[in-house]
């Protein structure tokens, strides 16, 4: 039992890294664009389908880079044409319903263009094997997913800390009016931020498709754990979102070993406990977005 538990804990952390990757893009957009992006799951699916289409021409690695950028381009159009119009409305309901509707449209377009039939996404053969016979659940691909999650997170933190745009995004997160007064073009900043968030969604979507395959509804089930990761980690904190993802992954991994039926409910229970004990979440800042 001890070994099985250890395996499951490991396994949960792998899953958690994936949740964290999804949560980061969502948290980014939630922060500066002040938008709960319900279309995040749909953008994940869209990037995955882009990848599916271009893999024959540019290979898996090319697709992993190009497809998220394509999704990001669509994201830019959506931000400029639609999301931007709602920044002046402080009530979050509008952006929430807008992205909810966008999710419908994107999902329907995917179904119309690529068909409802699920399809597999081919991943490089050398990743598709366990690394050792004892630790058979550590396949190359799963470790690769963890690596991408870590590198992506590190890159995001580096961008936020060391580049001009990153510093502005962080500054905008805490006080948008001041940096606007300082002459920063906040429209441009928000567009860039939205696109980065979508690119993150795109990478997560392609990685998910490599493991689970593609279907038009694939985004629906993936987005909820990301929400919970953000709430547990604390809204407004990217580190919190990362931790939140890992924690709920770990918790659901361990629960699976004892009581599989509760493996989904447990993440909501954790969220509930967090809300009672520490309403602002692990790393959340008091007073943000209120």
């Amino acid at each position: 039992m001890g070994l099985v538990l250890l395996f499951n804990a490991f396994n949960g952390l792998i899953q958690g890294a994936f949740y964290a990757l999804m949560a980061l893009g969502l948290a980014l957009i939630l922060g500066l664009n002040n938008t709960i992006n319900f279309a995040q799951g749909a953008f994940m699916a869209l990037a995955a389908y882009f990848a599916f289409t271009i893999v024959p021409y540019v290979g898996f690695w090319g697709a992993l880079i190009i497809a998220p950028l394509l999704a990001g381009a669509i994201g830019l159009v959506v931000e400029v044409a639609l999301v931007r119009r709602l920044y002046s409305r402080k009530d979050p309901i509008y952006s929430l319903l807008l992205t909810f509707g966008l999710a419908f449209i994107i999902q329907d377009l995917i179904r119309t263009i690529w068909g409802a039939q699920g399809v597999p996404l081919a991943i490089p053969g050398f990743l598709d094997h366990p690394l050792s016979n004892t630790y058979f659940f550590l396949t190359g691909y799963r470790l690769f997913v963890v690596a991408v999650a870590l590198i992506g997170t590190a890159a995001l933190f580096a961008v936020l800390r060391f580049t001009r745009i990153g510093i502005r995004i962080r500054a905008g997160n805490s006080d948008l009016e001041t940096i606007s007064a300082l002459g920063v073009n906040i429209y441009l900043l928000r567009s860039a931020n939205f696109v980065i968030g979508i690119i993150f969604a795109g990478v997560a979507g392609i990685l998910a498709a490599g493991q689970l395959g593609l279907n038009p509804n694939m985004g629906d089930t993936l987005i909820m754990p990301a929400f919970v990761a953000i709430v547990v980690g604390g809204v407004g904190s990217l580190v919190g979102s990362l931790l939140g993802g890992l924690i709920i992954g770990l918790a659901s991994g361990i629960t699976t070993a004892f009581f599989p039926a509760a493996s989904e409910v447990v993440i909501y229970v954790i969220m509930g406990i967090m809300l009672v004990v520490r309403p602002r979440g692990l790393m959340g800042q008091e007073g943000l977005f209120e």
């Binding site: 929430l96 999710a103 419908f104 449209i105 809204v235 909501y268 809300l275 209120e290």
Partner: protein, 332 residues
């Protein structure tokens, strides 16, 4: 959470006492007449009575939600949870405990209402976007419980094996066919709408609106705003639960879909589409939304895109909804 849309003019439109009583009374009379006559005129224009019942049920749920959303300023994206709990409450009661439709409906309403009353105090610890995310997550928790606890709920297959029973009143027995049931729903709708109207015009309702308009100031004044938001949450949950119970009676069936956040999204768009600052906004929204979805989805496979466009267009161009749009026109 005060909104820039609540300029003085719009602020006065939504305040429930704008019209003189006589004008409003006349409006209510006409509305009542139209709704009472539905079974007679709806088939003539290609509708069917069960659809009208569905519209009223969704309108009722959205109206309950709107007490929290439009009047108190709390954006709940999880009201399907209380709707669904109401439905399961009714289903389980009729299946295992009672043959009384009324008793089952009461039990379902209490179950969903109780959940909302207990969870409200937790949810109101946060405001703004955070509030919404917590309500979604709580809703999804109930969804997964319903899916997993299949010995009780029937799991993914849904709960079957119950049906609404005739109602025996002194002197008359309602067989509860489609038309009877429509009038039953209409009666429930009328009672709930009246109660909501009374609440909104009582000091309690004024406090709700004041919280929406200026949360900070009320807090400074020493008013326990959280408590009031929790009260609003509970009332709106009770109404949603009753609507859910009626939905279970309409279909003689419930499934976990009734707890899913997609349905919460439907309730929200119904409120916003009709006009969330208007008392009858959710009713108008439900009529337009349900009828349109019913029609569009049988003429094109791409109905999801059309519904998505409805979300986008109404959010971008009609933030005050259909009633808000016409009110503004008539007042300008």
């Amino acid at each position: 959470m005060s909104t820039d849309l609540s300029s003085p003019r719009t602020a006065s439109t939504k305040s429930p006492g704008k019209f003189t009583m006589s004008r409003r009374g006349l409006g209510n009379l006409i509305l009542a007449a139209v709704l009472l006559a539905v079974p007679f005129w709806l088939p003539l224009v290609g509708g069917y009575t069960d659809l009208a019942s569905r519209v009223l049920i969704y309108a009722l749920a959205a109206m309950g939600l709107n007490l929290l959303l439009g009047y108190t300023g709390g954006l709940s994206f999880g009201h399907a949870a209380y709707f669904g709990l109401g439905a399961y409450g009714v289903g389980l009661m009729l299946k295992y405990e009672t043959h009384s439709t009324l008793l089952a409906l009461l039990a379902g309403t209490l179950l969903g209402g109780l959940a909302a009353a207990l969870l409200g105090p937790i949810v109101v610890r946060r405001r703004g976007i955070y509030f919404s995310m917590i309500t979604i997550a709580i809703g999804q928790m109930f969804y997964f419980i319903a899916v997993r606890w299949n010995s009780l709920t029937g799991g993914e297959d849904g709960l079957t094996g119950f049906s609404r029973q005739p109602i025996h009143l002194p002197g008359v027995t309602l067989a509860m066919g489609s038309v009877d049931f429509y009038y039953f729903v209409l009666l429930c709708f009328g009672i709930c709408a009246t109660l909501l109207w009374i609440i909104l015009n009582a000091p309690l309702g004024h406090t709700f609106v004041a919280i929406r308009e200026n949360h900070k100031r009320l807090t400074f004044l020493g008013i326990k705003t959280r408590r009031y938001i929790a009260i609003s949450f509970a009332i709106s949950g009770i109404v949603a639960a009753m609507a859910g119970g009626l939905d279970a009676l309409l279909d003689n069936f419930t499934s976990p879909n009734l707890l899913n956040y997609t349905l919460s999204g439907d309730f929200l768009i119904i409120a916003v589409l009709g006009g969330m600052r208007n008392f009858y906004g959710p009713l108008v929204g439900a009529v337009v939304f349900i009828m349109m979805r019913d029609y569009v989805s049988s003429i094109t496979d791409n109905w999801m895109s059309v519904i998505g466009l409805v979300f986008v267009v109404s959010v971008i161009f009609f933030p005050m909804g259909i009633l808000g749009f016409f009110n503004r026109k008539s007042s300008s």
